[in-house]
Structures are given as structure tokens and as C-alpha cells.
């Protein structure tokens, strides 16, 4: 065994705070150390050549590089070892930058710490064993969960590349929240006009299998090999036979709220979600229908010319295998009824942003005429309250939802376009227009459309006759202000949708404190999750506007392609390993594994059936939670065995 030790100066990043020469000298007398050197930039070409040369000339078989975080350059040096015919897992990186030079200022103490870290690594390295990573095959089919604009974009991109893609949508039509929007900021493009071509493409694409009215109910497996169960609910209308003639709707005796119009208008139990719906078919609302029993009511079936209504339709369970999964489960608006002082739900003319969106929409419940809910009158003064429940860590959402400033501005502007003599007032804390052409859009609303902006938050809304008394403040004049509004629109923030929360739980994806799914790295891996092969698209990972969602979704599709394009994947070798003799089958590791990589399997032990833990090597990320949890010490972590860690502790404690 011959160990080569290389101390990187990283320019002055390390050498500025750590006496690298001293650190190198400290390693020389240690057992098995053949050479110990300092180099200015170990990761540079000449730095790597130095190591290569030593391997050749001194016959090194293990290498320790004391430099930066292994997340940066471990792959670089491992590749070097592999090239030279050494086992790459005999490389050890010691982080004397992030964990030492960057966080300390006293040179002597930092040097001492660097020496301790290096010593412990060397002692550990002597106990390391060569590891061989395993390989798994890849199923080159993709699953996209969620059929909003993010899911649509991801599915289209993947399908275009040539991968068979399943798009699963919970509701009867794809389109998501974007389909409910009237116009989009800052261009005022008609939302449906720019969305529906993409929806139609999804419906027609030969590589896309669209499963609307369907839910993912179970996900098993690992990167390249996910086993997924999808429940496809019954629609009770045969989409092939249905000619969209609409005969069935008027005869249906059941009237319920239309969710597409934010519950502001009625629909029947048999309905088409909206005119541009994809798949374009009527469906029967199972819960509202008088029982899906022809004995009770079969009015729709009786009038259906093509005989498309089938009360015997049953939900199906579809089982498929996928190589990669894109989670595009989206957001939902913050429940503003939580904001008691704004009286949503009790004051008729206080509505949410999404409701206003429908009210101003030409396809909305008022046919594009701005009418308020209480009496259908055209409101002459509309107050828009920004940050309704946002940036309010005390009681509501701590974060900024990014889109509310812009959509409120858009609402106010659209309102002014529709009601020329109306007054639109925006109460805001800050106007955030950090997007392309956003600032110009905001300026246009104020300058050209006379939208009034008052800096200050509204504290309370009080019903006063048929108006709403707005009690706010104008912080720029330091005055409390009151005004009467005919209609108040609350700019609600975005929270993770029910689907996002469910899928996160199902896939064991960690969520951040706000419930949105956490990215593998907020900057460098913004569409990856901690689970290999699972990617994020759109607002499932946090509030985004449409352009950002679309680019995020394309990013997710591109990242998913990097897996789908492989024939087989190499799996990290530093993973958990169960000592079956010590394992008592308690299953604590099963429950504690963040990646669902461990299960209990039955084993025969002298005729008795016992259970022992078994690690799925493809799923294991080598995080070490299980081996820390195991009271019996039955799980070792390859590359970080108990003996190796004890050796490290001894080195550190020996000081």
C-alpha cells in the first residue's frame, strides 16, 4: 500500500489561511504515506500530471487530495485514478477549503485543523477497500406528472426528442391554471390562444400517451427503472364516439359550480371542462351525477345520438415502467379565506385574483363584461390588494410569490381597458417587476392607463352598504387612508398544490419549509431532485411565471433526456451494506431511509423465517442515515465503515 498525499493551495484560497507546507510535512511520517506534496492548483492540468507521474514512478495505489469540497473535484480525481488503472474509490478528498481555510481566520489554528483532517483521512484511507460500482439498465420512457403548461412543455420536448412519454393529468383536461387565465403579462397575449396549440400538439403527438382524469397512485423502483401505477378514472363518455354535439348538457338536471370559472358560474353534471379542452370530450362528474345509474336518471344517455354514454365504464389501473419522471404538479392559490381581516367569503364583493381573471375573461361567467358578484353591476372603483397573505411570515406565507405584482397590474390595466370611467387602485408594499419587459408593463399601466398605486398595506375590509370600505395607509404621505370600493380583488400568493404535496410524499421528495419541492441544488441543479431520475418542472418547486415555467419545463425535459439516452447507468459504489448476521429485522432503517432504498426481506434461518434489511443498490444514495439509525450496528456504509470512521475519530481525538 502506497499513499500519495497532495495538498492544494487553491491560489490563496487555502494557502492564505493554512500553512500548506506544514500540513504536507505532517503527513510524511504517517504509515503507508509514500509522498506528500503541495501544489498551487491540484485540479489544474499540471497538478493532475504531477499525481499521474507519482503513480507511475512511485507506484502509488491510493491518493489523498486535500483541497476543496469533494462535490467539486472528486469526479476529476477519480477519473484520474481510473485512467491509471487504480480503483477510483481509493481516492480520498479532504476538504481543507470550505471546512477549514474559508471558515477560520487564525492561521495556526486553521493549520492544526487541516493537519487533523488530513491525518484522519489518511488513517481512514488505509482501511479502505476497492469498490466496484454496479450498473443498471434504463427504460427509455418518460412519465410527466401534471398537465399544466409545465407538464405540457416537458412532454412535448421529450416526445420531440423521440421518447415515449406519458402525461398524467388529474383533471379531465390538460391546460392547468394557464387555461383559466384571460391574458398573460406583459404582452397581453390571450392565454388560451397561445396555450391551445400546445394542448392540441399533446393530444396528437404520436409519442405522447395522454392520461387525463388519471392519478399516479404508486411509484416504485429507481432511476432508469421506475414502476408506476396510474389510476385512470371513468369518464362515462366514450371519447371516440362523442361528437361534442352538446345535446346531453341541457337535459342534465344536476347543476353544480363550474371549477373552470372559479366556481362563479354553474355547470351540469355532464360537461366539457372548457371549449378548448384536450382531450376534447364530455365527461360525467361522478360525484355530482345522480348516481351513474340508468334507473335513476339517464337523460343524457337518452338524448345522445352517437350512443357515447356508457354508465358501465370502470376505472382502470395502468402499470408502466419509466426511466425518468418529471414532476409538474403545479401550484394552487393561497386560501385567502384565512385572512380574516379581508373578509373573503363573507363580503360578497371581495374576490380572489383567479376569480377576477375569470370575470374579465371573454370566455368567463360574465362574457367579458366586468361585473361584480353581488349584484352584477359594473364596478366603478376596484381596489387591488397586493401581497394578500404573502410576505407575511407571522400568519400566512413568508415568501414573495413573484407573479402577484404583475398579475394585479395586468388586472388593473385590463379593467381600465374594459371600464373606461372606472378607477383602479393598487395597494402595494413594493412593486416587483423582475422580468423581461415587466417594468415597462407596470409603467404603462400607470402612465397610459391611469392605474393608481398607493404604497401601503390594507389592514381591513368592511362591508358598507353595497360597497366595501377599504382601510389602508399611504406610507408615502404617512396617512391612514380610507376609501370605498365597488369591488376588491385580493392578489393571492401561490402555494404548492394538493397534487404537489401528494407526489412529494409519494416519491419521498424533500420539501422546503413552504411545502414546495426542494431542488437538488438551488443554483446548479434547479430542475433536479435529490432522487436520481426525478425532475421538477414549473411551480412544483416554487412560484414562477409562465416564461420561467416553460423554460424550467424544457430544462427538466433536457435533464430527463440525459438519463433516457443511456443504455445503462452506473451506480455510486459508496452505499449501505447490511450485515445479515447482526440485523435483527427491526426495520428502523426502512422507515428512516429518505430514498426508500431499504426493505425487509424474508430469509430462512435454520428453518425459521426471519426478516433482514436489504438495500436496493440503485436507489441508495449513500447518505448514511440507515447506518446511523441501526442500533445493532448491522448496516455499514461502503467506503465509510464503522472501523474507518473509528480510525478517523481516533486520529481527531488523539490530538
Amino acid at each position: 500500500m502506497k499513499i500519495g498525499v497532495y495538498i492544494c493551495e487553491c491560489g490563496s484560497n487555502i494557502a492564505g489561511t493554512v500553512d500548506t507546507e506544514k500540513v504536507a510535512q505532517s503527513a510524511e511520517p504517517l504509515p503507508k504515506v509514500a509522498v506528500s506534496r503541495v501544489y498551487r492548483y491540484a485540479c489544474s492540468e499540471p497538478g493532475q500530471n504531477l499525481i499521474t507521474q507519482d503513480i507511475e514512478e512511485l507506484g502509488l495505489d491510493r491518493v489523498i487530495v486535500a483541497a476543496c469540497s469533494p462535490s467539486m473535484h472528486e469526479p476529476t480525481f477519480r477519473a484520474l485514478l481510473r485512467e491509471k488503472g487504480l480503483n477510483p474509490y481509493l481516492l480520498e478528498m479532504v476538504n481543507i477549503r470550505e471546512q477549514c481555510s474559508w471558515v477560520h481566520s487564525d492561521k495556526d489554528q486553521a493549520t492544526d485543523k487541516a493537519i487533523s483532517l488530513l491525518t484522519s483521512a489518511i488513517l481512514r484511507n488505509t482501511l479502505m477497500k476497492p469498490l466496484t460500482p454496479k450498473k443498471v439498465g434504463v427504460i427509455n420512457k418518460a412519465l410527466v406528472i401534471g398537465g399544466g403548461i409545465a407538464g405540457i412543455q416537458s412532454a412535448l420536448d421529450l416526445a420531440e426528442v423521440g421518447y415515449q412519454t406519458y402525461l398524467v393529468e388529474k383533471t379531465p383536461s390538460i391546460g392547468g391554471k394557464m387555461a383559466q387565465l384571460d391574458k398573460t403579462f406583459p404582452t397581453l397575449d390571450c392565454s388560451a390562444c397561445i396555450l391551445s396549440p400546445k394542448m392540441v400538439d399533446v393530444g396528437r403527438h404520436p409519442n405522447i400517451t395522454l392520461l387525463a382524469n388519471s392519478e399516479v397512485i404508486e411509484v416504485d423502483g429507481y432511476v432508469g427503472n421506475f414502476n408506476v401505477k396510474i389510476r385512470k378514472k371513468a369518464t362515462y363518455v366514450d371519447p371516440v364516439k362523442c361528437t361534442l354535439c352538446d345535446e346531453c348538457v341541457p337535459v342534465c338536471p344536476v347543476i353544480v359550480h363550474d371549477e373552470y370559472n372559479a366556481d362563479l358560474s354553474p355547470r351540469r353534471a355532464i360537461y366539457i371542462p372548457f371549449p378548448q379542452a384536450v382531450p376534447a370530450t364530455y365527461i360525467i362528474d361522478e360525484e355530482a351525477c345522480l348516481g351513474i345509474d340508468p334507473l335513476i336518471c339517464a337523460k343524457c344517455r337518452d338524448v345522445c345520438g352517437p350512443d357515447a354514454i356508457d354508465f358501465d365504464m370502470k376505472p382502470e389501473i395502468i402499470e408502466e415502467e419509466f426511466g425518468a419522471i418529471i414532476v409538474a404538479t403545479g401550484y394552487e392559490p393561497y386560501p385567502i379565506e384565512n385572512i380574516g381581516e379581508y373578509g373573503y367569503g363573507t363580503i360578497h364583493n371581495v374576490i380572489s385574483g383567479l376569480e377576477f381573471e375569470r370575470i374579465i375573461s371573454a370566455s368567463g361567467p360574465t362574457d367579458g363584461v366586468v361585473r361584480r358578484p353581488s349584484d352584477g353591476k359594473v364596478p366603478k372603483t376596484v381596489v387591488f390588494i397586493h401581497c394578500a397573505g404573502s410576505r407575511d411570515p407571522a400568519k400566512h406565507l413568508p415568501y414573495c410569490s413573484k407573479v402577484c405584482c404583475m398579475y394585479s397590474t395586468k388586472h388593473a390595466l385590463q379593467y381600465r381597458h374594459l371600464v373606461h370611467d372606472g378607477t383602479a387602485v393598487n395597494f402595494y408594499i413594493d412593486i416587483r417587476t423582475a422580468g423581461k419587459d415587466f417594468e415597462e408593463f407596470y409603467q404603462r399601466a400607470a402612465e397610459e392607463d391611469g392605474v393608481i398605486y398607493i404604497k401601503g398595506k390594507v389592514s381591513e375590509l368592511i362591508e358598507d352598504g353595497d360597497q366595501v370600505l377599504v382601510r389602508g395607509v399611504n406610507t408615502l404621505t404617512s396617512e391612514t387612508v380610507e376609501m370605498h370600493a365597488d369591488l376588491v380583488v385580493l392578489a393571492t400568493g401561490l402555494i404548492p398544490s394538493e397534487g404537489t404535496r401528494q407526489i412529494a410524499k409519494m416519491l419521498k421528495l424533500p420539501v422546503d419549509s413552504t411545502g414546495f419541492i426542494r431542488e437538488a441544488h438551488p443554483k446548479l441543479k434547479p430542475v433536479d431532485t435529490v432522487i436520481s431520475g426525478v425532475f421538477l418542472a414549473g411551480t412544483a418547486s416554487g412560484p414562477k411565471d409562465i416564461p420561467e415555467t416553460v423554460s424550467h419545463a424544457s430544462g427538466a425535459a433536457s435533464r430527463a433526456s440525459t438519463i433516457l439516452a443511456q443504455k445503462e447507468l452506473e451506480i455510486e459504489a459508496t452505499i449501505a451494506n447490511v450485515n445479515e448476521i447482526l440485523c435483527r429485522g427491526c426495520g428502523m432503517c426502512v422507515d428512516s431511509c429518505p430514498y426508500s432504498a431499504i426493505e425487509l426481506v424474508a430469509k430462512n434461518s435454520f428453518g425459521h423465517t426471519i426478516k433482514v434489511a436489504s438495500v436496493n443498490e440503485a436507489l441508495c444514495k449513500g447518505c448514511g442515515t440507515c447506518s446511523a439509525t441501526c442500533l445493532n450496528g448491522a448496516i455499514n456504509h461502503l467506503g465509510y465503515t464503522d472501523s474507518q470512521i473509528l480510525a478517523q475519530i481516533q486520529a481527531l481525538g488523539g490530538k
Partner: protein, 136 residues
């Protein structure tokens, strides 16, 4: 703290429109960054900042706008107009507030009441400029 009931009635709209008409500026262009007030070398003598006056015009608060001394302290040095990021001729808005008053009440200063000594002593340029700004 003072209090204001915000109304968007005829009176408020007319006041705003009149100021816009006189100044030729779009009052709503202002996004209240406050750079005009920040650079105004007379703001220490004003009882309301320049941007606050503009904001009140946006809201049509005529009484509060006219009761301030801001536009009378303004010496039309135009620093605000030159620096405004929204290219608003802020000084023109101050001028418009003065004009609005002067068109109702033509004399802010009564020339006849100025001491003779002042009139004799001062250069023409000061007198003419002053009368042009402070009489209707």
C-alpha cells in the same frame, strides 16, 4: 398621523386633469422614487416633499396640495426635471400648481406692497422673474 378619505370623484379628477393640462405632464408617470425630492436643494424649507405633492395630485387631493409651501419654495432650478428617471418635468408640475393658484388668485405677492427700497435696489432680472412666477 393624519388621515385622508380617498375619493375618486369629479373634483379629484378635474384637479388632476387641470394640473396635467397646465404642466403638460402625465402625473401617473411618477412611480414615487423620490429622486426629485432627494436632489432638491430647497427641500429643507418645504413642508412637503416634491414627490409627495405629485402623489397627492395622482390621488386628486387638491386641498392638501395647494396648502403646502413646496411649490412656492421651488426656485425652478430644474434639477428635479433633469434628473427624473421617468423623464417627468417635475418643475413644470410645481409651476402648474402655482399657476393653478394664480389663475384663481392672481397675486401671490403684491407688487404694490413691496418696499420701494427693495424695488429700487434689486436687479430687473430678479423682479421680472419673481413676478412672472408669483403673479397671474
Amino acid at each position: 398621523m393624519s388621515y385622508e378619505y380617498i375619493k375618486f370623484g369629479k373634483e379629484e379628477r378635474e384637479f388632476r386633469q387641470k394640473i396635467e393640462e397646465i404642466s403638460g405632464e402625465n402625473i401617473f408617470s411618477c412611480y414615487q422614487c423620490g429622486k426629485c425630492s432627494a436632489g432638491c436643494m430647497f427641500s429643507d424649507k418645504m413642508d412637503r416633499t416634491v414627490n409627495q405633492q405629485i402623489l397627492r395630485i395622482q390621488l386628486g387631493q387638491k386641498e392638501k396640495v395647494l396648502s403646502a409651501n413646496t411649490h412656492w419654495v421651488c426656485a425652478s432650478c430644474l434639477t428635479c426635471s433633469v434628473r427624473c428617471p421617468r423623464d417627468i418635468d417635475v418643475a413644470a408640475i410645481m409651476e402648474a400648481i402655482r399657476e393653478y393658484t394664480l389663475r384663481e388668485e392672481p397675486e401671490k405677492i403684491k407688487i404694490s406692497e413691496l418696499p420701494k427700497k427693495v424695488l429700487e435696489k434689486l436687479p430687473n432680472i430678479a423682479l421680472v422673474a419673481n413676478f412672472r412666477k408669483k403673479t397671474g
